[in-house]
Subunit: 225 residues, 2 copies
DNA sequence: ATTATTTTGTGATATTCATCACAATGACTA
DNA sequence: TAGTCATTGTGATGAATATCACAAAATAAT
């Protein structure tokens, strides 16, 4: 695999704004790794000295809540991971774990900072990303706390279909326990509701393979429970 | 009241980094207003063309959840309001409403953007603020969804005491209905739990005046319910 | 292949809270 | 001053869902 960021096929919108010169700097100061499903990419509580770029694959962002592990959201390449920690804190405030095989680049923080300083558009893109994330997290939090289980599960399934996999047929990359931590319920409830969805003809479930058979119903459930 | 930002006693850390020149620019391009408790500062769904600076007072940041109004958090001067919307969206994704009498400055967005472009440290401060907010909102969301009513109410009361008023005796600037929207419960539950806290000798409640009598207990409730 | 170990399905029970209902108080208004 | 309207206190009831308890599959390990 090439180590040249100019040739990286996974450039984000933000990165694609960079000059060749900046990209050279990136290339020379990063470490590229392949990790397996289940491997930790970032660990809550440890020191953060890098910016992490998720080159390919899917990861879960999660943290230790007061009682249970909480999966905040699912991240899909290409994207940066752990940026909030990088600028807002020294130690990682959350963990990121691969839920599929992934490729990641660890970029030296000072190099990243330098590039940021020298590229207004890159900075602007990044600020916009932060802002969108914050807005998104407000809405997500309101949904999670107000909707009931069926609504939240429908939301999560639609997110996988529409945003993560862009297909109504996909392999759920989470166990039911993890899924429960994503939608704030118990593992048992996840199992029960999935069965219900199947019985209602909304889903076809084969192991962890999910086919959305009746998307309109699923959207209705998302809206009304 | 002076309209000169150089003399504004409420400058944020970020703003204090600006050169006099930049501050002049600010001074000449903003609108200063006094608003009353209950007045809208930013309205969800409307177009956003300004950056808003909360000069003095307290405001609630809230949005329409799927079923109820959700108060995301309480903001206290000095701070910027609506920045995420400014950069991440064109229309306001949430509302901000004064919960005490407030003074606000509406700053023209393009001027703000220009100043931002010309001041690296200002930009960095802002990015750090975004990041801290995002981390904070992750944790807040995990707490809200996992803790039970008593724990969440204790958290909110401690937030008022420690961060907003910096005193264990304060006037709650919210009705019980609003308080319920802040901690994700029903108004009735808020009433009941407040009574419980009073009966347990944790609080003294006189109308909306709250005295925290036994902070250790309150912290314990926050941790264990 | 044969154990372990993790993951999943499903019933019975218990708990937390929301909702409904209505009285009481307080605040603003005509 | 009375009268409307918003806020608060408190009981009774019901709904949603967590928890407990196993059994059954499915995966991984030896």
């Amino acid at each position: 695999m090439t180590n040249d960021c100019r040739l990286c096929p996974m450039k984000t919108k933000a990165t694609s704004m960079l000059s060749d010169c900046s990209l050279d700097q990136l290339s020379n100061n990063h470490l590229e790794l392949k990790l397996q499903k289940g491997d930790a990419i970032i660990k809550q509580g440890t020191y953060s000295t890098n910016v992490t770029f998720l080159r390919s694959g899917i990861a879960k962002i999660h943290l230790a809540g007061p009682y249970n592990e909480q999966i905040v959201k699912i991240a899909k390449a290409p994207c940066y991971l752990g940026l909030p920690t990088t600028f807002g804190s020294k130690i990682n405030q959350y963990s990121v774990t691969a839920v599929s095989d992934v490729e990641v680049c660890y970029i030296d923080l000072t190099v990243f900072q330098t590039i940021l300083d020298e590229n207004k558009t890159f900075t602007q893109e990044l600020i916009q990303e932060f802002c969108r994330n914050e807005l998104e997290s407000f809405h997500r939090c309101a949904n999670r706390t107000q909707k009931m289980i069926r609504g939240n599960m429908a939301d999560a399934l639609l997110d996988f279909a529409d945003n993560i996999f862009k297909s109504d047929s996909f392999n759920l990359p989470l166990s039911q326990t993890e899924f429960a931590n994503l939608v704030d319920t118990s593992r048992e409830s996840v199992s029960r509701v999935l069965s219900e969805f199947e019985k209602d003809g909304i889903l076809k479930i084969t192991g962890r393979k999910i086919d959305i058979l009746n998307k309109k119903s699923l959207v209705l459930v998302s809206q009304n429970g």
